[in-house]
C-alpha cells in the first residue's frame, strides 16, 4: 500500500521544524529530498572504503570500483540501456547536454546545418544549442508551444528538415509539466531527417515516469541525480554506444586514456573515455541507492500517487480568486509540476508569504525565460510534488495562497 504519510519517514529533512512548524516541501522539481538509504550508502563509502577507483590493487580500491560500477549497472538497467557501457557519469543534466553540444557539435555540425529545440526548454537545453549554432554558423530553430505546452505536430516538418542535425527537447517541461509522447516525436523526427541526433532532457521525467531509452528511440538521454532522490553533483548521459565511439572526449586527463606518449595518445573506450579525473564516487554510489529506492516504491505506484496529488492540487487551487494554471488540464499528460500565477500578486510575494508558513515553492522564470516571454508573462509560481506529498500539504498551501491574496489585494 502506497502511503505518503509512511513514506515521509524515509526523509530525514521532513522531521525538521523551522520556527516550531514542520516543513511543507513542494519544490521537488528543483531538487528532490534525499531518503535515509541514499545518505547511508554515501556515508558508508566515506567511512568504510573511500579509496579512489580504477587504479588501486588493494582491497579498498577494488571495493570502491565495484560499488561505483554497480551503480552504473543499476542506472543502466533502470533506463533499459543495452549495456551499462552506454551510461556516462557527469555532474548533472546541464553538463551532459554541454558535453554533447561540445563533443558532438564541434565535430559534426557544419555551417548551414539545422538545430531545433522547443521554446519551452529549460535554459540547460536551450543555450548550449543556441551557442553551438552561433559557433558553427548553423541555423537555430525554436518550435513554439501553446499555454498547455503542446506543439502543433504538423509544424515538425517545418522546423525539422533533411538538413536538421540536432533536435533537443525535454520529456517533461519543468514549467508547464506536460509529458510529451517521446517515442512518437522521435519517430517523426527520424522519418524526416534520419541523420538527426535526437537528445531528450529527462531531468523532470526520471523517477516520475518510466524512462526507457530503448522504447524512446532517441540517441541521447540526459538527467540529474539530485532530482531523483540522489545527491547533487552526479548526472547521467546515456547515448548509443556507436555514437559514444564516434565522439571525441569532452575533457582530458587521468582515467580516460589507454596509452600516452609524448607524441601519441589513444583514449580508453566509453564510458571511461568521457570520465576524466576522479569522478563523484560517493555521489554515483548514492545515485545507485536512489535507483533502488525508486524500484522498491515502484515507478507505477509513484506515478499513480503523483497523478492523484497533482489532480487534487489543481482541483483545490482553481478556486483561488484570480488564479491562472498553466500546462495541460488532463492529468494523463501532466507530470508532478504545476505552474500558476495570481492576478495582482507577484510570484515572489506568493513564495515569500508561503515561506513564512514553512511552505517551499518556487517563483520566477524557472530557467525558462524564452517560454515566459513567449507566453507574455514575467514570472510564475510553481509547486511540484513527490512521493511524500500529502493532501494536507496541498491544503496548507492553498490556505496560505488565500492568505496572500487577501493580504496583497
Amino acid at each position: 500500500m502506497f502511503d505518503p504519510k509512511i513514506i515521509r519517514n524515509d526523509f530525514p529533512l521532513l522531521k525538521r521544524y523551522i520556527h516550531g512548524r514542520p516543513i511543507v516541501y513542494l519544490d521537488s522539481a528543483a531538487t528532490s529530498l534525499k531518503p535515509e538509504c541514499v545518505l547511508q550508502r554515501m556515508d558508508s563509502y566515506y567511512r568504510e572504503y573511500s579509496a579512489n577507483i580504477h587504479r588501486g590493487i588493494y582491497h579498498l580500491s577494488e571495493e570502491a570500483t565495484t560499488r561505483y560500477e554497480e551503480a552504473r549497472e543499476r542506472v543502466g538497467n533502470f533506463i533499459h540501456a543495452n549495456s551499462s557501457k552506454e551510461v556516462i557519469f557527469v555532474r548533472n543534466a546541464t553538463e551532459g547536454i554541454n558535453m554533447i553540444a561540445t563533443s558532438f557539435g564541434n565535430e559534426y555540425i557544419y555551417e548551414g546545418d539545422g538545430i531545433t529545440t522547443l521554446i519551452s526548454e529549460h535554459h540547460a537545453n536551450f543555450v548550449p544549442w543556441q551557442q553551438l549554432a552561433k559557433r558553427k554558423n548553423a541555423r537555430f530553430y525554436v518550435l513554439p508551444v501553446n499555454k498547455k505546452g503542446e506543439f502543433d505536430q504538423t509544424l515538425l516538418s517545418k522546423y525539422i528538415t533533411q538538413s536538421t542535425k540536432v533536435f533537443a527537447f525535454a520529456a517533461i517541461s519543468n514549467v508547464l509539466g506536460i509529458i510529451h509522447d517521446v517515442s512518437s516525436i522521435v519517430h517523426r523526427v527520424k522519418k524526416i531527417s534520419p541523420q538527426c541526433l535526437v537528445i531528450v532532457d529527462a531531468a523532470q521525467a526520471i523517477g516520475h515516469i518510466p524512462v526507457d531509452v530503448h522504447a524512446w528511440g532517441a540517441d541521447v538521454v540526459v538527467f540529474s541525480g539530485h532530482k531523483m532522490f540522489g545527491p547533487t553533483g552526479i548526472g547521467v548521459v546515456w547515448a548509443r554506444y556507436a555514437l559514444l565511439e564516434r565522439m571525441s572526449p569532452y575533457q582530458y586527463g587521468g582515467d580516460m586514456i589507454r596509452e600516452v606518449r609524448v607524441d601519441h595518445i589513444s583514449f580508453a573506450d566509453p564510458p571511461q573515455k568521457f570520465e576524466a579525473g576522479t569522478p563523484a564516487i560517493a555521489e554515483a554510489i548514492g545515485l545507485g541507492a536512489a535507483v533502488d529506492y525508486i524500484n522498491a516504491l515502484g515507478l507505477s505506484s509513484i506515478r499513480l500517487h503523483e497523478q492523484q496529488i497533482i489532480a487534487y492540487a489543481m482541483e483545490q487551487m482553481k478556486n483561488i480568486d484570480g488564479i491562472h494554471l498553466y500546462g495541460p488540464e488532463t492529468i494523463e499528460s501532466r507530470g508532478a509540476v504545476l505552474a500558476f500565477s495570481i492576478d495582482g500578486v507577484h510570484p515572489h510575494d506568493i513564495a515569500q508569504i508561503l515561506s513564512d508558513d514553512n511552505i517551499c515553492i518556487r517563483a520566477g522564470h524557472h530557467c525558462a525565460m524564452p517560454l515566459h516571454t513567449h507566453l507574455g508573462i514575467s514570472a510564475t509560481a510553481r509547486i511540484s510534488c513527490s512521493v511524500f506529498t500529502t493532501e494536507e500539504d496541498i491544503d496548507q498551501c492553498v490556505a496560505s495562497l488565500n492568505k496572500a491574496v487577501s493580504l496583497l489585494r
Partner: protein, 123 residues
C-alpha cells in the same frame, strides 16, 4: 520579521508619487530580468535639486513599496545627496530584514534613481 507589515503594504497598495510628470528633465527605466520587476522614474531637476519625481512600473511588493518610500524620502534633495544614498539607507527606509534574493527587489528603485541623476549630471 514581518516583510508584509502595514506600512509596506500601504505603500504598495497606495504608492506615493506614482504616475507621470507633464514635464521632466530625465527619465530612466530598468528592470530586474530575473523576476520581472520593472521601475521607471521621471525627474524634474532645478538648480541641482530634484523638485519632483514620479515613478511607474510593476512588480513585487518590495520593489514597488521601496520606490514609493524612496521617492517620498528624496523629494527636494540635491543630486549629490542622492548619489550618496546607500543600500543600507533603503533598508532602513523599508524597516525590514530581507533575504539576499529580496534585497535585489528593494534596490531596483535606488539603482534607477541614481542612474537618472548621473545621466542628468553628465549632460
Amino acid at each position: 520579521m514581518d516583510i508584509y507589515r502595514e506600512i509596506i503594504l500601504d505603500h504598495y497598495k497606495h504608492p506615493r508619487n506614482f504616475g507621470h510628470l507633464d514635464e521632466y528633465d530625465v527619465k530612466i527605466d530598468d528592470k530586474n530580468v530575473a523576476c520581472g520587476d520593472a521601475i521607471s522614474m521621471e525627474l524634474r531637476i532645478v538648480q541641482d535639486r530634484v523638485i519632483d519625481i514620479r515613478f511607474s512600473g510593476q512588480g513585487c511588493v518590495i520593489s514597488q513599496a521601496s520606490a514609493s518610500l524612496l521617492t517620498e524620502h528624496v523629494m527636494g534633495w540635491s543630486v549629490s545627496d542622492i548619489m550618496s544614498l546607500s543600500k543600507d539607507d533603503v533598508l532602513v527606509l523599508l524597516g525590514i530584514d530581507l533575504t539576499p534574493s529580496r534585497v535585489k527587489c528593494a534596490m531596483l528603485p535606488l539603482e534607477v534613481l541614481q542612474k537618472a541623476v548621473v545621466v542628468y549630471a553628465n549632460r
